[in-house]
Symmetry: D2
Subunit: 118 residues, 4 copies
């Protein structure tokens, strides 16, 4: 079913978008990592003065803004992975397995400690 | 075909992962945005002293490290969107349309200027 | 009294440090901005799973870690400013004046709104 | 000569600025770390599509923008250190000594490798 994958489809759309604009020259992995960090900062900016509780109850306006920033992060992430020939889905599955080992349920239940502090 | 979606599947895996460890208490949108920015920084760190050209030819070791960091970013992004009830695929499609309007091919061909500088 | 300035002294120390190691070649403003963002992420990582209240009562160990990360940020910031021929002290004084105008006490007392939302 | 210190003076100005606006309630270390990362992102954004060479030759307009962002980063950094009772000057001196040991001139001359890769 990989042809119907959201991520694969998005990767192809973003490739076309960049090609049409001759933007591949700017999309080096280095530059894309910078653009990615810029977009993530627009997410944290939404939350910076909110309490954790307030962050769970965004206004309609803020939620819409967040939606756009999440899309921006996603698109640069997909683009970066594409440029570096990395399959995001595979990468996530591998990392999930690794995290399962690093964070065994019985050792980290209810704890926010890092694996090397457990 | 939504059942076969990579993103939906990942969202469900991450929910289960957090629930099993009682980590929902830590996963406020505010905290997730911070974790997200931390993971992105581990990506930029890979590239910071490389030239743009070198960033296109990562060593096997660096590429594997990048793959892991990309997975980390992806997973926090999916988790943040889930917590805020945002559909990432829809968000990306809407943003792509918007970008198509903001960056018309004839005005931004070969230019890295921001839309408000075009 | 500028000879006794902390910032001027630090700038000169960092110049010497880079020169001795032939690191100027890596210290382009672009690269320094990436290194800066990497160090800031190590600060946010300290706080990401803490409540705002917990963030005010760091353990001795975490406080020492924070001190080191703050130094790292400071040093890359001073280095970046030096490379771009920017006087940080002057820049701060100018920005403070600007902020005084953007955030008049009577309009923003007790409010975390951005100036364009006031 | 500490009374003439740039950093001490700035710390006091920023304290007064926050007190006058009743902003201490928002300035938890957690929140300040987020604000700090947001401002750093505005610096990286300036450089993201530039080559390393272009980053060394900013236009007057971009340089002025950079100056403002550097001031913003500096001010949040000083504020964060103040809130956590950390002396930035001391922290930098201690870190410089540590870096001198971690990066001996003969081992890292002309190399951008991290100390643990040397």
């Amino acid at each position: 079913m990989s042809n119907s994958s959201d991520l694969l489809h998005l990767k192809q759309q973003l490739r076309a978008f960049a090609e049409q604009r001759d933007w591949d020259q700017f999309h080096t992995p280095k530059n894309l990592s910078m653009a990615l960090s810029g977009e993530v900062a627009e997410i944290t900016e939404i939350f910076q003065w909110l309490t954790p509780e307030q962050s769970e109850e965004l206004s309609v306006e803020k939620k819409q803004q967040l939606e756009e920033e999440i899309a921006d992060v996603m698109m640069y992430l997909v683009r970066l992975a594409d440029k570096c020939d990395i399959d995001i889905s595979d990468a996530c599955q591998r990392k999930l397995e690794k995290n399962n080992e690093k964070y065994p349920v019985d050792k980290c239940y209810g704890s926010a400690k890092k694996y090397n502090e457990l």
